[in-house]
Amino acid sequence: MNAILNATFVIARRDYLATVAKRSFLLFLIAPIVLLLISGGVGLVIGISAAHKTHPSELVVLAAPEASKAFVEEYKSLRDQLGSSDFINTTVEAPAKPDMDAQIAQANKLLTDPNRAVRGVLAGLPDHPELVSTGNGIDQLRGGVNLALTDAGAAAAKPVEAEEHTIDAKGVNVTDKREGLALVAVYILFFLNILLSGMLLSNMVEEKSSKIIEILIAAVPVDAVFFAKLVSMLAISLTAIAVWGSVAGAGYLTLAHFVPGAPPPPEPGVGWPLFCVLEVLYFVMNYLLYGSIFLGIGAQANNVREVQIMSMPATILQAMVFAVISLTSANPHGPLAIGAMLFPLSSPLMMIGAAARESTLWPHLLALGWQALWIVIIVRFASNRFRRIVLKSGPMRAKRV
């Protein structure tokens, strides 16, 4: 067993080094980055210019004029004295209803009103002030508002902290935001898989056409050769993802630095650290599932043209799976969604969506085990087909002579 594992590692290592050392791999790595940089650069310019042009600059005070008078005067006075950009114009509006929930709803409406540039809403004056804005908006306004509140209520012994209701710039609630995150995570997984798993198709054809395969299968069982190919291509893909991910992360941080109003990413159900781990794990599973199918197809094809023809059904299957997953977003707990979670080829995409939406962890352990089982089944099936169809190898009755 050790000898087989060792040989598997040797094959995987050679494939990995041979691929990453090629100039074409460098181009493969750089091309999406260049596209990303160009689009990021354009986005940055547009973002900065938009930030300068339409930066929301209005603080709405939801209160009766007499209730808000002291605060507004103090706030204006502080703005005149300090001149900081954290002090913005104030507008006083009467609350539609006196209860706090209604005032928060009114605040959400004001914040998403496309005809106004509302940065934040201060409600609940004078006794229970609450500052409603995006996360960044609250960061920007909190100091000035609290200072003015303290000054306005000078009789009070301690400063009045505004309660914070964080909403995003579009007034979308947390559940909707997580749904959006789930979709983004699924898209990323799907497109990375489409982009990277195709490499496996041509790999076996090249090995067959260069006659190397005979040397490999004379030293190592076919299953192990298949597994080595999968592992090496997975390592290559993870290398590419690490590079692209780092560039994308750096790009996002740069963008966030230059565009202060950029919304922060929503918190996934399982939390960011675990979500990142699961995204990688589900990518690995998705890649191995489709990769083993593609590898099996590539092993039976004799040339690239045959590969293209034979891989068509697998590509259509991928598209169908993606279409089904898109349909399940409307009802992520419905029978179609549960079926898609159980179907091995859609399970990784469904489960990363679930990780974005929900905090429960045990289904992920089950799903990862289930997907791993199917990877083994598909690899065994593909290597058996290779043995039967390509090598034309029959059953072996292991009897000692």
Binding site: A7, G394, V401
Partner: protein
């Protein structure tokens, strides 16, 4: 006799075609063993079954007593008939890689590769990419990759194919030296001369069946030696006393050595004054034995098959 490779009743069908039909082979440990036969006889399929690359439809095989040869792949070196190497690897790296596949650490493999290439006159090619090597050099690199882990059993499928005469001579020398160091050599060929020069034992395969399995010497002994006599006299009463199969061709009498030996024939010729000008007694070669065993038509196929030698 300890056996390195044994096969009993191996059968392999490809669709409706029976490629191998009950092959029995026993290769003693330490022997140089040749599998002889024309192209398409089933040699490669038999070797692949013996090595565990493919499984037989029927029959059993074992290498060093193990019915699953892949489990002891580290003790085996295999040069396939269809040569292939990674073109973008250096010669030494390819050899080290092939050794690593069979358990040799890469660092050790590189050291051995350098030495093997040097010994084989390819020291200058150590760091050259395979794609820049000539066909013969690339074949040599693959052969060295087969040997780098110093296997107990070396299986070579048509190893002389594609080599020039000089390289063939080198390969013969290498095979002898490996055998002298205790390795078992099993190789297939359709060139009888190679088997005759190298092998102690052979199997002759034709039509998917083993027609003969045994020592080269025993194969040759199946036929009587041939006698060629040139006499001064062209006619005489002595002619009647020559063996019944004697034929006169270009003034030379040809006949099989009688069971009673050559002496009675010589006595007759001397007594009747035929005058012996030349006398030659020739032991039959493996080629003659092959014709006797497999038939003239198979031998013709062997001769017609390309030897792969570079002109």
């Amino acid at each position: 006799m300890t056996l390195a490779v044994e096969a009993h009743g191996l059968v392999k069908n490809f669709g409706d075609t029976r490629a191998v039909n009950g092959v029995d082979i026993a290769v003693p440990e330490g022997a140089i063993y040749g599998v002889l036969g024309p192209n398409g006889a089933g040699k490669t399929t038999s070797l692949r079954m013996m090595l565990g690359i493919i499984d037989p439809d029927e029959g059993h095989r074992a290498v060093f007593g193990n019915p699953r040869p892949l489990e002891i792949a580290n003790q085996i070196g295999y040069l396939p008939e269809e040569r292939g190497l990674y073109n973008s690897m250096m010669a030494r790296e390819v050899i080290a890689f092939m050794g690593a596949l069979r358990g040799l650490p890469l660092a050790e493999g590189r050291l051995r590769a350098d030495k093997l290439l040097e010994d084989y006159g390819l020291g200058h090619a150590t760091k050259r990419m395979v794609r820049t090597l000539s066909k013969g050099q690339a074949q040599t690199v693959q052969l060295l990759g087969t040997l780098v882990h110093e296997p107990r059993l070396i299986v070579l499928d048509e190893p002389f194919s594609g080599l020039d005469a000089l390289s063939q001579g080198r390969l013969e020398k290498l095979i002898r030296s490996r055998a002298a160091n205790g390795a078992t050599i099993l190789f297939s060929t359709h060139v009888i001369a190679h088997a005759e020069r190298l092998c102690e034992r052979i199997a002759i395969i034709a039509g998917g069946k083993v027609r003969y399995e045994g020592s080269v010497s025993a194969a040759r002994d199946r036929l009587p030696s041939r006698v060629q006599v040139r006499t001064r006299a062209t006619e005489g009463a002595w002619q009647a006393d020559l063996p019944s199969d004697a034929v006169l061709e270009d003034g030379v009498w040809h006949f099989a050595l009688p069971a009673s030996g050559i002496e009675p024939v010589l006595q007759t010729l001397i007594t009747h004054g035929a005058g012996i000008e030349t006398l030659a007694i020739e032991r039959p070669g493996l080629h003659d034995a092959f014709i006797d065993i497999a038939g003239a038509s198979v031998a013709k196929e062997m001769n017609a098959a390309p030897t792969g030698e570079l002109a």
